[in-house]
């Protein structure tokens, strides 16, 4: 059995010392991996990432994370990644991780992703340089996700981990006007192309927990304000404890 715990939108601040770690007390008994879907911190500051690292230090469960928009706010992504890696957290920015669990392999392809909207009501790479740059960013992120998913195609279970949502279905509850700022269908197209087994995202605090891509891949919004727990649990099939086998970076 492959057991996955997932949460997003922790929004850890300097006022969060000791707030998240108690929720992880029994994680190692319940899950083989913890996946974090971005907005790990409130302001993206180095000090906040040190607080987060302490909350996650010493876990007996592998942890992988993508950043969210809040984590980019102060421009310290490189340093913040190092802080998380110092406590063993794998940060996936267009990269993948493979965990072996007995005879089975779990592949996780992760990227923050970006916005732009959903099929039929989305932005196009047209007009002003700023608009073209905006949509190009989404296209590049979707392509990075596609390449990372391709790299884990041989795994028994393949998970796409993003911050922004690949579908509208998990945004129900948000104001329609802000949908274009909550994600992009291009992420779903990459997920469907790879026939992933599960897509996890955060970002949408007022959204809903369950949805599905046009290709039938289950999508789960694991933002903590939605799941109301320290993490959501998912399971696939049957087998035991994990070891990190390989990591890599897509070049999209």
């Amino acid at each position: 059995m492959i057991r996955i715990a997932a949460a997003g939108d922790l929004h850890v601040g300097l006022d969060s010392v000791g707030c998240y770690s108690p929720l992880l007390a029994h994680l190692h008994e319940r899950a083989d991996v913890l996946l974090l879907a971005g907005d790990l911190t409130q302001h993206g500051s180095i000090d906040e990432f040190h607080v987060l690292a302490k909350e996650l230090a010493g876990l007996h469960t592998p942890v992988a994370a993508v950043f969210g928009n809040h984590d980019y706010h102060q421009g310290h992504e490189t340093r913040n990644r190092e802080i998380l890696e110092s406590v063993g957290v794998r940060v996936l920015e267009g990269e993948y991780m493979v965990l072996r669990m007995g005879e089975e392999r779990l592949g996780v392809a992760g990227i923050k992703g970006f916005c732009g909207g959903y099929a039929g009501a989305c932005g196009a790479e047209f007009g002003e340089p700023e608009m073209k740059s905006f949509i190009r960013t989404t296209k590049e992120d979707a392509e990075s996700l596609r390449i990372a998913l391709d790299a884990i195609s041989g795994c028994d279970v393949r998970v796409a981990l993003t911050h922004y949502s690949p579908i509208k279905g998990t945004l129900v509850g948000e104001k329609l006007e802000i949908y274009p700022f909550l994600g992009s269908y291009l992420l779903a197209e990459a997920i469907d192309g790879a026939k992933a087994d599960l897509a996890l995202h955060g970002h949408s605090h007022k959204g809903t927990d369950q949805g599905v891509t046009p290709g039938g891949v289950p999508v789960r919004n694991v933002a903590m304000p939605v799941i109301r727990t320290g993490y959501q649990l998912f399971s696939f099939g049957s087998a035991p404890s994990p070891s990190v086998e390989s990591m890599g970076e897509s070049t999209g």
Binding site: R3, A5, H11, G13, D15, S16, C19, P22, L23, A25, H26, L27, R30, Q42, H43, H70, H73, V157, D197, L198, H205, K206, P218, R220, M224, P225, I227, R228, T229, G230, Y231, Q232, L233, F234, S235, F236, G237
Partner: protein, 88 residues
């Protein structure tokens, strides 16, 4: 209702939301702001008492004189974990 020569109700909501999102003391993007009965209401959830307190400070700083503020924000509470969803 008008809130001064140039500040209509909808602009007041926008100004408060902008402050809550962009003020470096807070950076909260999901607080609902509503104007009713001549007052500004802050609605929704934040992660801590400190952020709840800070939200009221930030909002009050951009309100025109004489406009009241009602802080109905509550602090999020989370349990440890969910039941397991079996996907395959």
């Amino acid at each position: 209702m008008e809130y001064g020569p140039t500040l209509h109700k909808s602009y007041l909501v926008a100004r408060v939301r902008e402050a809550l999102a962009e003020d470096p003391r807070l950076n909260e993007l999901d607080i609902q702001v509503t104007v009713a009965a001549g007052k500004v209401f802050l609605l929704g959830e934040v992660a801590s008492q400190e952020r709840r307190r800070q939200a009221a400070i930030v909002a009050a700083e951009v309100l025109p004189e004489g406009i009241g503020l009602v802080n109905n924000l509550h602090v999020a509470r989370y349990t440890e974990s969910s039941d397991v969803e079996e996907l395959r």
